[in-house]
């Protein structure tokens, strides 16, 4: 997948606005299209109602803020985690405005915090509008909506300046935040941010923050969400949750997630240095995994050597392969290794930036090594989650696989398959004919990986309606929770309202964009399509337009486009990929094929018309960009 064309297309081609495809064939509104529109409308209204109840005019979220990872700044801002994506799908402009209000308010609100027991927030949680120090597990969670704001708001100067500033903190360009060593290509600590890397052991106070008097509602309450927690009384336990979370120095396999800053800065500016950094840093990680024979090390020393801070034990490090610790709060041994959480996003970013499938191979190799250890227990497949001394993090004996469970990382396999579109990568993903109740992360949306794949494979034709209906019901449920919520700002901690966020985007992302977020982790949009309204000059489908991605092939994709408006025609710009990273070679509708050779196609839909449209496409053949299709001639040059 080489770059055969740049995403920059001539202004003349777009300004002419002569649609390449003109759809005139009548299509009575299909139920899925109406459900999509209803979902966009109801999502918008639900977000407005949420904001009316829980966000004040300063943009403060009505809760009791404090520093901490159990409940802290990242949780508060994560409450809006999918609002920008929702807008980019086609929700009301109010949704984007409310996110911005909440984002600015959040920074102010959390800058009022003054911690005593940890230095990290002694002058507020943010410094230069970026978290002072945190790990990329939490930093990225808190930035989810912000990182996708560019989909809707690429011409926002403040947004662009921030993204450049934040990227600089991780590229070795910012002397006040020297998180990155460009020589050894390491991010120097698991704790990084606008105050630079933490090059000491962390303290439990860094993780937990100061105690705050009061009895609170808390989503992450070990005793259950319905119970209230006396924070001071429980404080000691909370500290002991993190007794073993103290190793900090050296690069950590959560850090590849930081490349999203570089990728985003590139997509906002077109400046090659950002792209180069993403590729360089992830190439270093690729080489590190090659050194172990395919295992992505969880720790790299400041010297750039795998396991460099642990005598070569590359499986060490907080949240690493061997992070089996005693959780003093729960009073039990816990396995907290997160080998996919930073690596899949990082290599995915490298793929977007470079178009080079070699980055996919790293993930494929890693999953193959894990799956090579699979075994059947009571008729169910299990794979190991951990690697290292099975006695635990404190022990330094010879490494081996351990802790087999039936957590099969199907979502990551799906991500991998969608990147490679190699059917061999589907081997361990069950394609289901039925949409199950789904599991999911509580406040995240239910996991429909199997059912969606089943639909793409032609096994579950009713998936679109079922999924969209379930999403509507989810909003209904959230609205009911909101109406019945009797907590007050004084009794809510930062994570409590996560569960009340009504915005529901997974179904729309699957069905309209052919896009996928593994277990709802939204930092970057991997998708086959995206839409723009060239009349309103905004991201998202124009009013009344439905889009249903029915088939995804390695070099093709089929989407049905329909205009349900009986009177007015609609024009929609269809983009190849969330960021124009793919290229359309041709488009076929009604038996007629038209060559394209571009990452966007303008389609005019007559009233009440629709058609199944098949695109031949070269994936990852274009440079990704946030630019609106009509801005691309000048974009990044200013």
């Amino acid at each position: 997948m080489r770059h055969l064309v740049l995403a920059m297309v001539s202004a003349a081609a777009l300004c002419a606005a002569e649609p390449l495809l003109h759809i005139k064939t009548p299509m009575p509104a299909p139920a899925w299209a109406l459900l999509e529109q209803q979902l966009l409308r109801h999502n918008s209204a639900a977000v407005e109602r949420f904001a009316a109840k829980y966000i004040d005019e300063r943009g403060y979220l009505a809760h009791t803020p404090r520093w901490g990872t159990l409940d802290g700044p990242d949780d508060a801002i994560e409450t809006y985690w999918n609002w920008t994506l929702l807008h980019a799908l086609g929700a009301s402009d109010r949704v984007l405005e409310l996110f911005k209000l909440g984002q600015e308010g959040h920074i102010k609100q959390y800058n009022e915090i003054r911690t005593k027991l940890t230095e990290l927030a002694k002058n507020g949680s943010y410094h230069r509008e970026f978290i002072t120090q945190s790990d990329w597990f939490h930093t990225a969670e808190g930035m989810r909506a912000f990182l996708l704001q560019g989909l809707s708001d690429p011409n926002n100067d403040l947004y662009r300046e921030r993204m450049k500033r934040f990227a600089a903190m991780y590229m070795g360009e910012d002397p006040d935040a020297p998180n990155y060593d460009p020589v050894n290509k390491v991010i120097k600590s698991i704790w990084t941010g606008s105050k630079g890397p933490m090059l000491r052991k962390a303290t439990t106070y860094d993780w937990v923050g100061d105690p705050v008097p009061g009895i609170f509602h808390l989503l992450h309450n070990p005793a259950g969400r319905g119970k209230m927690l006396d924070l001071e009384a429980n404080y000691k336990k909370m500290l002991s949750h993190c007794d073993e979370y103290l190793d900090s120095v050296g690069d950590n396999f959560l850090n590849p997630a930081a490349t999203i800053l570089g990728l985003n800065a590139y997509m906002l500016t077109g400046d090659e240095k950002y792209r180069k950094w993403v590729i360089d840093y992830m190439t270093a990680w690729k080489q590190r995994s090659e050194e172990t024979g395919g295992m992505i090390p969880s720790n790299v020393g400041l010297n750039g050597k795998i396991g460099g801070e642990y005598n070569g034990q590359w499986w060490k490090g907080t949240y690493g392969w061997n992070f089996t610790i005693f959780d003093g709060e729960l009073g039990e041994t816990a396995h907290r290794g997160y080998f996919t959480d930073g690596t899949f996003p990082g290599f995915g970013n490298a793929l977007l930036a470079s178009g080079d499938p070699a980055f996919i191979n790293v993930m494929r190799k890693q999953m193959a090594l894990v799956y090579a250890q699979k075994k059947e227990v009571n008729g169910r497949m299990q794979i190991p989650q951990m690697y290292g001394d099975p006695r635990g993090y404190k022990h330094n004996g010879p490494p081996s696989w351990y802790h087999w469970t039936n957590r099969l990382h199907t979502d990551r396999l799906m991500e991998l398959y969608l990147w490679s579109m190699d059917r061999k990568d589907m081997e361990y993903i069950p394609a289901s004919a039925a949409i199950g109740r789904g599991g999911g992360d509580g406040y995240a949306e239910s996991d429909r990986t199997s059912a969606w794949l089943g639909y793409l494979e032609g096994k579950a034709p009713d998936f679109p309606e079922k999924a969209l209906q379930a999403d509507l019901q989810r909003i209904q449920h959230k609205m009911q929770m909101m109406r019945e919520d009797e907590t007050s700002a004084d009794t809510r901690l930062a994570d409590y309202l996560l569960d009340f966020n009504p915005a529901t985007t997974n179904g729309l992302t699957n069905l309209m964009l052919g896009g996928y977020f593994s277990r709802g982790r939204i930092w970057v949009l991997h998708s086959r399509f995206r839409y723009f309204d060239p009349v309103k000059r905004r991201a998202g489908v124009p009013a009344d337009v439905g889009a249903l991605v029915e088939k995804l092939g390695a070099a093709s994709a089929t989407v049905t486009l329909v205009n349900t408006n009986p009177i007015e025609p609609r024009t929609v710009v269809v983009q190849a990929g969330g960021y124009g990273e793919h290229r359309f070679d041709s488009v076929t509708a009604g038996g007629k094929t038209t060559p394209v050779n571009d990452s966007v196609v303008t389609v005019r839909l007559e009233p009440g018309s629709g058609a199944k449209v098949e695109f031949a496409m070269a994936r990852y053949a274009s440079r990704p960009t946030f630019a609106f299709p009509w801005d691309r001639a000048w974009y990044g040059k200013k």
């Binding site: 009548p26 139920a31 639900a46 109602r49 509507l472 449920h477 009233p607």
Partner: protein, 590 residues
């Protein structure tokens, strides 16, 4: 919140139900109909409400029926849940058409001067929806009474009806009274169309082919023969006047209207009995069958022979039976149409799987065999719930093998109501959406010269489809454009906005219809606001509702409160035709 009126029984629906496909399609169809109706009216009307049409109208005896007919769905869409503006526009265009045809000379005293009830029916089917939509419009209420009196013998200026002999005095009737003689002028330009039909009689001197209609000499002979035999006296198609009289009753409750309807139908029942069980299709001014027809009971206008045959007699009888049942509560009125359907069926011959029946009767006896039309059985069964009708419905379902066309599409609906074809609602709503879009395509590209438009311009172009909504939401067959009014199981009102029709965001689906009960699914697709609605038994409160789910009602209506995003299926048990019907809305809406 104000307390509910003491008499209201409320069913509270709280169970979450994600918007089913039928519900979103139903709501979308209503939205589309609102937009399409507005655009349709805007495209074809002048600012004063008249139609963009010819300066002069030379249509022979043709008149306003097609024009009114073209706009007949406007108020009905509102009644079902569409935009109230559509009803307002309907009244406005009604006035415009009336003024326009008054100027043309065809309308006098706001009613067609002389026309037959096949065509009156087509035009005034539009009139009846106005009472449903707004029983308090004094102007239309006064018109309704004025029009009714033209046919009850109470209006000396329009002596269409002979109360003594209980007959209409002519085939062509209206505000200028009975028309006793026809000339060729009356039949221009209709004569052109009639070349496609068989001749009215086989013994017209010198005329052997239908092409005679466009031969000047033969044309005159044809019209003279028809005038002599057909013009004077009564024909069964005049039974189509009964809804007009019922319309006045539904506004006023005036007993004279009810008495007229039953007495006039009884006249036809009597003549049928006297004619060996076959409804004669012509009666002379003296009241004698065959008086101008050489004694033949066949040969009348829209009768057993011409232009189509017996189905026109049967349809008029069904229309009248429905109205009589509504006014009296009795199902016996269906004995007359049932007897005629049976009589024809008994002449049937099996041809392959289908039964072929004679379409006509004349000097040759029964003739012109063709597949039996099945739809009359459904139209009767929905009123009689009689096993005799249901038996034939099941037979026809078996004969057709699942393929139905035209008015027989009601059989798909019957299958759905019997628990088959679960995808029927989605398919039916999609079909109607497709219809609207097809018509909108035409309307949006309209560029013709109004001077060249023919009478059927608006009824052809009109984009409003109500078939699926009528069947699925209120449980009615599509309204027979030949002059029927709405007859249904349930009707809805928005209790908050105090308007007719489903409240915004609410969808309804009737899934079972029996004599004693219907099952209806009600869904509030709005996830944020609760809705309050009234569910009424019948279009005119004629059905007494006994229970809604487990809740006792014992009234003509009950209230439903639907929580946001909630829905449920309710079994509504009822005693049909137990109440006096009226256009008046439930008091709670006042």
């Amino acid at each position: 919140m104000a307390a509910a009126p003491a008499l209201a029984t409320t069913v509270h629906i709280t169970e979450p139900r994600p918007a089913p496909a039928w519900a979103v399609l139903e709501r979308h169809l209503l939205t589309v109909l609102n937009r399409a109706g507005e655009k349709f009216v805007a495209t074809y009307t002048n600012p004063d409400g008249t139609l963009r049409w010819k300066e002069r109208y030379e249509g022979g005896m043709n008149s306003s029926d097609d024009s009114y007919e073209g706009f007949r769905h406007l108020s009905m869409v509102y009644v079902l849940g569409g935009d109230p503006q559509l009803d307002t526009r309907h009244r406005w265009v009604w006035e415009g058409i009336t003024r326009m045809f008054t100027r043309y000379g065809n309308i006098y005293r706001e009613f067609d001067s002389n026309w037959d009830w096949m065509h009156h029916g087509e035009g005034y089917t539009s009139f009846y929806t106005l009472g449903l939509a707004n029983p308090r419009d004094a102007k239309f209420r006064a018109r309704s009474e004025k029009f009714a009196r033209m046919f009850t013998g109470e209006d000396p200026e329009s002596p269409n009806y002979d109360p003594e002999r209980n007959i209409m005095r002519a085939v062509m009737n209206g505000s200028r009274g009975p028309k006793m003689e026809w000339t060729t002028r009356d039949w221009i330009p209709t004569n052109g169309n009639l070349t496609y039909y068989h001749l009215p009689y086989d013994d017209i001197p010198g005329v052997t082919k239908s092409a005679g209609w466009i031969n000047d000499e033969q044309f005159a002979v044809i019209v003279k023969t028809m005038s002599d035999r057909m013009a004077k006296g009564d024909v069964p198609i005049n039974l189509t006047a009964t809804p007009l009289i019922a319309d006045a009753y539904l506004y006023t409750g005036g007993g004279q209207y009810k008495r007229w309807v039953t007495r006039y139908i009884e006249g036809w029942e009597e003549r049928t009995r006297a004619n060996n069980g076959i409804t004669p299709d012509n009666v002379g001014l003296s009241g004698r069958v065959g008086e101008n027809m050489n004694g033949n009971w066949w040969g009348g206008y829209y009768g057993w022979r011409w232009p189509r045959g017996g189905i026109d007699v049967i349809r008029a009888e069904i229309t009248a039976a429905k109205v009589a049942q509504l006014l009296t509560g009795e199902a016996k009125w269906f004995d007359l149409p049932r007897s005629q359907v049976e009589l024809v069926r008994k002449q049937g011959r099996a041809e392959g799987r289908a039964l072929h029946v004679p379409q006509r009767y004349d000097q040759r006896g029964w003739n012109s065999w063709a597949p039996e039309p099945g739809y009359p059985y459904i139209r009767m069964w929905l009123h009689t719930f009689d096993h005799r009708e249901w038996r034939e419905i099941e037979r026809i379902i078996g004969e057709r093998g699942g393929r139905y066309s035209g008015p027989e599409q009601d059989f798909e609906w019957m299958e759905f109501l019997s628990g088959k074809r679960p995808d029927y609602p989605v398919r039916a709503l999609t079909r109607d959406l497709g219809f609207v879009q097809e018509k909108m395509h035409h309307i949006l590209n309209e560029h013709g010269d109004p001077e060249t438009w023919v009478d059927s311009k608006w009824s052809d172009a009109q984009p409003l489809a109500t078939d699926a909504l009528l069947r699925l939401t209120v449980g009615s067959v599509p309204i027979d454009v030949r002059g029927e009014m709405l007859h249904c199981s349930l009707r809805y009102f928005d209790a908050d906005r105090k308007r007719a029709g489903l409240p915004e965001g609410v969808a309804a689906l009737i899934t079972r219809i029996e004599r004693d009960a219907v099952d209806v699914e009600l869904v509030n697709t709005n996830l944020f606001e609760a809705r309050r609605m009234i569910v009424q038994g019948g279009a005119y409160g004629e059905h007494q509702i006994l229970k809604a789910g487990a809740v006792g009602v014992n009234a003509a209506w009950f209230e439903v409160r639907l929580e946001p995003g909630a829905g449920a299926k309710l079994t509504v048990s009822m005693k049909r035709y137990a109440n006096r019907p009226s256009y008046a809305w439930p008091k709670v809406l006042e």
